[in-house]
């Protein structure tokens, strides 16, 4: 009798641990924010790139990440309600959907599908995305809360080298360190608490550990089959890395995730059964039609072994954060510039990073997903795609939809393009005799 072709998955003792942990932690996060709102305790709005969670946690100020909250409304099928509420008050269809979801929430009673959406008592914004700044100004106007903009000078162009001894680096560090000290004063005022440098030290130590674990998690996908899908599970890792940056539960979560992945690798279990194509995602996913989006790749047995999103949205955590605990504030400034800054600038100059990833992760093709909402991640994708094809011989697929605006989802068109891309990858293999 012919052996049948169904992949039998071995029973894994750790299966599902990460998913459960991430659900529980997310739910705790919403509970904590709801309680803060109910008791009028100060909440800080901050962003995934350049959150300065280290400082906010040192004052126990709960953090709301409106980007994560907006994404969640889309996954819950609710984003359009809020988005349209913002358009009703004058926001253009051509601006970032995350901003509009948030504005909609703030102007319709602050009821998020997962919990109470708190009012910010302060904002930590940054130039990592310029839209962050405009977005923060909306809260400044609505609530009169202080807005702190962390200004991080980025990659400067042709011939730029960022060695720790260069004059530019020293100049940048001084600027950033000064700003961090200003933020410490502001957070102290808002929370009514004194700054405790030892507490900051502990947090930094935990970020170091989280970063190590996170890097190990990413590296797991160098295995074949890849044990996790960067498009789906990757988003959970990323979410927790942000909301619990520097917290004991964040470290624990990363340990849980890594252990589960190690077990999968040991048993040869892949994220996508019978993995055939290994992909890199550049840009972000589409959350309004997330299942369909993922399914279009999975049905070709394509797995996203890496995503640019898991880099830039992690505030440098993928680059190996190594805080020097003897010089906490100085080191915080230096490390932000060495880790978060290149992950931000990387969005605009990521062609070499993509070529390296293609090599290291044995990638067959790159999916460039342009989302109208987010010019930060998407505006230059067609050019990067062409560069990769011509200079590194890595084929790319360019598709467009949106993060949270379901009006921009065109299923048939999307499916056709994705199918055609996989067919072309297939014929490349045939031609190469693989």
């Amino acid at each position: 009798m012919e052996p049948h072709n169904v992949a039998i998955r071995p029973a894994l003792s750790r299966a599902g641990n990460t998913r459960e942990a991430s659900r529980a932690l997310m739910s705790d996060w919403w509970t904590q924010l709801g309680e803060a709102d109910a008791t009028a305790a100060p909440v800080a709005n901050t962003f995934v790139m350049g959150s300065l969670a280290e400082v906010l946690n040192a004052f126990d100020i709960p953090m709301m990440f409106p980007e994560i909250a907006a994404l969640q409304t889309a996954v819950k099928g609710k984003s359009m309600d809020y988005l349209l509420a913002a358009e009703d008050i004058g926001y253009s269809p051509d601006i970032c959907g995350y901003v509009k979801v948030d504005i909609g929430l703030h102007n319709t009673g602050r009821e998020h599908p997962l919990g109470k959406y708190p009012k910010p008592a302060m904002v930590v914004s940054s130039n990592m995305c310029n839209t962050y700044i405009k977005w923060s100004e909306t809260w400044e106007r609505q609530y009169g809360c202080p807005v702190f903009v962390l200004d991080l000078p980025g990659w400067r162009g042709t011939g730029f080298e960022y060695s720790s001894t260069s004059e530019t680096f020293r100049n940048d560090v001084k600027y950033v360190e000064g700003q961090i000290r200003d933020l410490i004063d502001l957070a102290s005022q808002v929370s009514g608490k004194k700054f405790d440098i030892d507490k900051l030290r502990e947090i930094l130590g935990r970020v170091n550990r989280m970063s190590e674990l996170y890097q190990a998690i990413l590296a797991m996908n160098k295995n074949r089959p890849a044990p996790f899908n960067a498009l789906t599970e990757g988003i959970n890792y990323m979410g927790i890395a942000n909301i619990l940056r520097g917290q004991p539960e964040g470290v624990e979560f990363m340990e849980t995730a890594l252990a589960e992945l190690e077990e999968r690798v040991a048993h040869g279990v892949g994220a996508v059964p019978d993995e055939r194509f290994r992909l890199l995602l550049v840009g972000t996913a589409c959350y309004t039609n997330f299942r369909e989006f993922v399914g279009m790749f999975e049905r070709w047995k394509g797995v996203f072994v890496a995503s640019e999103y898991m880099s830039f949205a992690g505030g440098g955590i993928d680059r190996g954060v190594r805080y020097d605990l003897d010089r906490p504030i100085e080191s915080l400034a230096e490390q932000i510039l060495i880790t978060a800054q290149p992950s931000m600038s990387g969005i605009f100059f990521s062609h070499e990073w993509q070529a390296r990833m293609a090599e290291e992760y044995d990638i067959d093709g790159i999916c460039y997903h342009g989302v109208k909402s987010c010019r930060t991640t998407a505006a230059g994708l067609p050019d990067a795609r062409e560069w990769l094809l011509n200079n590194a011989n890595v084929p790319g697929l360019f598709i467009q939809s949106d993060l949270v605006d379901s009006r921009l989802w065109a299923e048939a068109q999307m499916r056709n393009r994705i199918d055609a891309f996989f067919e072309s990858l297939q014929s490349r293999r045939v031609q190469a005799g693989v």
């Binding site: 310029n130 700044i133 405009k134 106007r141 600027y175 010019r375 230059g380 560069w387």
Partner: protein, 387 residues
């Protein structure tokens, strides 16, 4: 004299509108070893390049005279037009004379332009000047001086010319003169708008970004003199402020339609050329003076964060100081910061009970009938209100 003014404006028009950059080519003919620095909107401290003998060219975008052939293959469709036309100019070879290209991270879409430019023109020095986005920070000016010195170092390498304090002071003087003349032109607009048309004023102002400043000072100086001596009578037109031209520019024809129905008594067109609002000091360290002026004596725009200058307050001030009766609050299509700021401006003006028109524009618009209708209806509603 009108004939002379006509010739001056024609020279300015060619500098602004001709995608072949004749004024730059003329300069290169006269200075065969000369180097040219292109810079994207909004502000660049041109004095630094000038002090090394470099010519600067401000990217302004183009109307429908520049057809997009290649740029769309390199940049997503959902970005504004100025990014596409300026990239097209580069990809089509019309900017091959550039030795250096500087962008500032004004918006998320523009940040990609420097990436694209770096990949497409690996031989050119493509630099990003990080102007402070935490402008009120006490650490911003020291940082900015360092950043200016970094750019100066690259310019020195490219030109082989050291930027001495003396040379920089002389350049500051030249640009101070330019800004003084521009302030004078705008003063005329505020006080006696019937003496100068909006398109005349626009061309006189914007051309400074596309020709040597020495020449621009000559033209502008003479033009201001002639305009001042004009004998014209005021007409019954509404006085309006135009806001929203800080980066992408509306087509000149649209301005011409607007001037038919209103006196535009102030605006933010090409605000980078007028970013510094006072003379920059020449005593002391000139590099520091430039940095301090950028932070402390400067205008405003949606792409600079400075909590000391809330943009709605700044707009209301512009309106007050120009005695405008109404405002046009515009934004370029697909411009994230402009469209976001527009909502805030709209809310502030509504709250102040100040008449205003909210609109979008695109530099490539070729049909002005709709704009004409909008402007006319708006102006009529105001005149009716004031009767």
């Amino acid at each position: 004299m009108e004939e002379e003014l006509g010739q001056i404006i024609e020279e300015c028009r060619i500098a602004v509108e001709d995608p072949g950059y004749p004024a730059i080519h003329q300069w290169l003919e006269d200075n065969p070893d000369g180097k040219v620095l292109g810079h994207f909107q909004v502000y660049f401290p041109e004095e630094i390049a000038h002090a090394a003998g470099m010519l600067t060219l401000k990217m302004m975008g183009f109307d429908s005279s520049v057809q997009i052939r290649e740029a769309d293959a390199h940049i997503a469709a959902f970005v504004c037009s100025i990014l596409r036309t300026s990239l097209e100019q580069g990809l089509s070879g019309r900017l091959d004379f550039l030795n250096m290209y500087v962008t500032t991270p004004i918006c998320d879409a523009a940040r990609h332009i420097s990436g694209v430019w770096t990949r497409r023109f690996p031989e050119m020095s493509c630099q990003i000047l990080y102007l402070p986005q935490n402008a009120a920070s006490p650490h911003a000016s020291t940082y900015l001086v360092g950043e200016y010195r970094r750019i100066a170092g690259i310019i020195e390498e490219i030109t082989g010319t050291e930027i001495t304090d003396e040379a920089l002071r002389a350049s500051i003087e030249l640009f101070n003169e330019n800004r003084r003349l521009l302030r004078e032109l705008y003063r005329i607009r505020r006080e006696t708008p019937w003496l100068v048309g909006l398109t005349e004023s626009y061309l006189l102002m914007a051309s400074g970004g596309a020709m040597p400043r020495e020449r621009h000072n000559e033209l502008l100086g003479r033009a201001v003199e002639i305009i001042r001596s004009r004998d014209r009578r005021p007409q019954d037109k509404v006085r309006v402020v135009f806001e929203g031209g800080y980066c992408e520019q509306p087509p000149i024809e649209m301005l011409s339609v607007l001037q038919d129905v209103a006196y535009v008594v102030d605006d933010d067109f090409m605000i980078g050329l007028r970013w510094l609002t006072e003379d920059v000091a020449t005593s002391g360290d000139p590099m520091e003076n430039l940095a301090v002026a950028y932070l402390e004596a400067s205008s405003y725009s949606p792409v600079q964060r400075d909590p000391r200058k809330p943009k709605e307050d700044m707009l209301l001030r512009r309106i007050r100081e120009s005695h405008a009766e109404a405002a046009i609050v515009a934004a370029p299509k697909m411009c994230e910061p402009g469209l976001e700021e527009q909502v805030a401006y709209d809310a502030a003006l509504t709250e102040a009970g100040f008449p205003h028109l909210v609109m979008e524009f695109e530099e490539k618009t070729a049909n002005f009938e709709q704009a004409r209708m909008e402007f006319e209806t708006f102006a009529e509603s105001l005149l009716f209100e004031f009767v």
